[in-house]
Structure formats: C-alpha cells, structure tokens
Symmetry: C2
Subunit: 131 residues, 2 copies
Amino acid sequence: MTPDPVTNVITELVDTYCAAWNDADPARRLALLRSVWDRHGTYTDPTIHLTSAEELSDHIGRVLTRFPDTRILRTSAVDSHHGILRFAFRRAAPDGQTLRDGLDFGEVGVDGRLRRIVGFFGPLVETANRS
Amino acid sequence: MTPDPVTNVITELVDTYCAAWNDADPARRLALLRSVWDRHGTYTDPTIHLTSAEELSDHIGRVLTRFPDTRILRTSAVDSHHGILRFAFRRAAPDGQTLRDGLDFGEVGVDGRLRRIVGFFGPLVETANRS
C-alpha cells in the first residue's frame, strides 16, 4: 500500500485530530479541533454523542482530567476509500501501558474536514467461522 | 458482553444481510435484502458505491458469478452502539480457505433497517506506537 496524496491528506487530518485529544490546553485544543472539524461534524463513541467541536473539546478536557497525562496514539495506518476512513488507536498511560484499544471510523466532508468520527472500544469478539 | 435485545435485533439484521450475499437465486436474494435494507440505504466498499437494494443484489450476483460457491461468513460478534455497528467477515472458498477478510461498518435507520454498510478489506496495517 503506497500512500497516495489523498491518503496523506486524510492521515494529516487524523493526526491533527489525535493531537487535539492529547492537548490539555483548552484554547489550543479547540483551535486544533476546529482546523479539522466540519461545522456539522459529530463525534460518537459507546459513552457519548456530541455535535460540535466545542462539545468535543470539552469532552476531551473531562477525559484528560480523569486520566491525566494519558495520550491517544494512532496504532495503524489510516485506511480510507470514498472519503470514509478507519484507524486503530490506543490510550496510553504515562508509563506506556495501554488503558484502552479502539477503532475509529470517520467521514470526510465535501470541504475536506472530518464530519464524523465513530469510535468503538476494545477488540471484536471472534465467533466460530460458521458455514 | 451479554447480548441485549437491541444487539439481538441488530445481529439478526446483519445475518439476514450476510445470507443475501450467499444466495445465488436473484429473486430470493433481493427479497432477503429488501427485508433488511432501508429505502435510502447505501453500500460502499473499496471497489464500488451502490444506492439501492436492487443495485446491491445485482452486484452480489456478479461477485457470485466471479467467485462461484464462495460464502460470506460473519467471523465476529456484532458490536454496536447508537445504531452504528461493526462486524468482521470473510469470504470462504468451497474448501473453507479464506479468499478475503474484511470489516463492515453499518448504520441502522429509524425504521430499524440497514441504511448504510461500508466495507473495508484486509487487516489494518499496524504502525509503531508513536509517543
């Protein structure tokens, strides 16, 4: 898989988004988010559904208060087609331990910003390969 | 993870959807799809974007002509929240060999049918855990 220009642009979007998750400074965090977030962008994970960059920034602030000095790390390449993307991430403790693994699914809007992130936590539960 | 009623309903939707992928009879396949497919449902994978049950049924027919007697098997539990779902699948050859692994994301519409399936092929490419 050779990165193409579209993949590079989408990967940059995702990395700025992840950087926002790791910035404890509210003003800087919101500025990072706004630089990649669609005006109508939504964020949804198993615990919450949010409908603006401001709400998401506040949510990240609460998470960082609860889990100080933890970081979100992208742990896979960003895989995308048709403006839809997926990537794996983990939340790492200051000592490097993994607090949570997850998978984000996202959509890029017509203006080239993230209009949706949907997060899933943990691994998929494998089932027997049914016939 | 104890299955709850919503999970059971969504799993049934997905299993009917997968059954449609395995039915070489065009009329029966379309009937299966229509029973779970939202009127405005879309299907997108790396190769194609389709906007109706009829288009999707025709697409499945072409795939089954190209890969006769292969089957789509769901290989994970269906993980869902907020009407959004993910599950792993594989296309198995008649001898059981895996031709393709994939991950489907989906959305359930207000009428309880699939309004979107987005497929990704292959595993995510792991990256070094950056700090």
